[in-house]
Amino acid sequence: MYPSAFTYYRAGSVQEALKLLMENPDAKLLAGGHSLIPAMKLRLASPPALIDISRVPELAGIRDRGDRIVIGATTRYDDIQRSELVRQVLPILPEAIEVIGDLQVRNMGTIGGALAHADPAADLPAVVLALGAELTAFGPDGERTIPADQFFVDLFTTALQPNEILTEISFPKPPAHTGMSYQKFANPASGYAVVGAAAVVTLGDDGKVAAVRVGVTGAGPYAVRRQNVEQALTGQEPTAAAIEAASQLASEGMTFNSDIFASDEYRAHLTRVFVKRALTAAIERARG
């Protein structure tokens, strides 16, 4: 299968990528290519030009910036998994990446490509929501920061403008006594998330839940935070009964996808079950 013809540009810097994007308004950025190229081969996408950003040095890499960890947009999954710093501080990232696609996909795919693509069944959107990440976009008016909460706006649609480049994702380092977990129900054929739930829980000195964030992907048209679950659990003793009660709220007020594999009702059920599993595992880890 051949995609339709396109002009290929390779950007050497973010500035150059932006310039190319302004000159070629219908062009697409190419990062790992593992969502874009399959779509082009099926001619679901036929961009007249591709701007390859995978070799822009400042877009890749993992940096320790004091109270934050910053991951460049074109950092590949495999490099995130190999990072000792990420394993220590943000272990939910390698946990989630380990269940993305397969070994070959993880060698090519990038964190920024996954987030910018905003596939409803992608894994990392739930994780960046639960970690309270901030995403940096670079466009004609310069740089702006978008909180993860405001990034995913619809099916395959993010807060990025067509002429903006996602440059980095910045994660706050979690306080002591924080546990985190990503739990996925994978489609047995595609491996994508039918439902994926990410939970990040911080316990106070009294053992009660001091802070909690929950993100859900796969269930609906785009990944969402579950504030109702978070509110129900905050300040509570994290008993099995409290987790169960909070998880029951996970499917409330959400729109669910429905397809041949999973009806909306089934996805609602899976959402409650996987939020509960993620919370349970996160709390166990927070207790250390």
Partner: protein, 156 residues
């Protein structure tokens, strides 16, 4: 666009159309037909090669993306007539039947054993999730990779 790649130790320069997929470059331009095309939809892994040492599905990479890269295909694994331990494992443990998936399976296993020289059976099965086999039922593929792991650890 002009690209230069080193494939199995030999450097090539060609003018290619940007939409040319790496798998077609290898098979149709370089005549290295050991790399197979099974699905063309990024699922089966038959087209797996090593790009700068890492296993990737060459049907999901444009040749222009590989400009400047070192590539290893199944044809480049054996050294001086000696099979690579993973190839030997597939031979010894009957890790193939029709052989269609085999080049891709082997390339994935080579990358995987570099990063995990002493894997459990479960880890091997997880590592080959992106490689489909319609014949063997995977059991002997897992044994072949276990054989290779042991052989590589013992350093022979």
């Amino acid at each position: 666009m002009q690209i230069t790649v080193t494939v199995n130790g030999v450097t090539y320069t060609h003018d290619v159309e940007p939409r040319l997929l790496l798998v077609h470059y290898l098979r149709d331009v370089l005549n290295l037909t050991g790399t197979h095309i099974g699905c063309d939809t990024s699922q089966c892994g038959a087209c797996t090669i090593l790009l700068n040492g890492k296993a990737v599905k060459s049907c999901t990479v444009f040749a222009v993306q590989a400009d400047g890269a070192e590539i290893t295909t199944i044809e480049g694994l054996a050294r001086d007539g000696q099979l690579h331990p993973v190839q030997e494992g597939f031979w010894e443990k009957h890790g193939l039947q029709c052989g269609y998936c085999t080049p891709g399976m082997i390339m994935t296993a080579v990358d995987f054993l570099q990063r995990n020289p002493n894997p459990t059976e479960e880890e091997i099965r997880h590592a080959i999730e992106g490689n489909l086999c319609r014949c063997t039922g995977y059991q002997n593929i897992v044994r072949a990779i276990q054989y290779a792991a042991e052989k590589m650890r013992s350093g022979s």
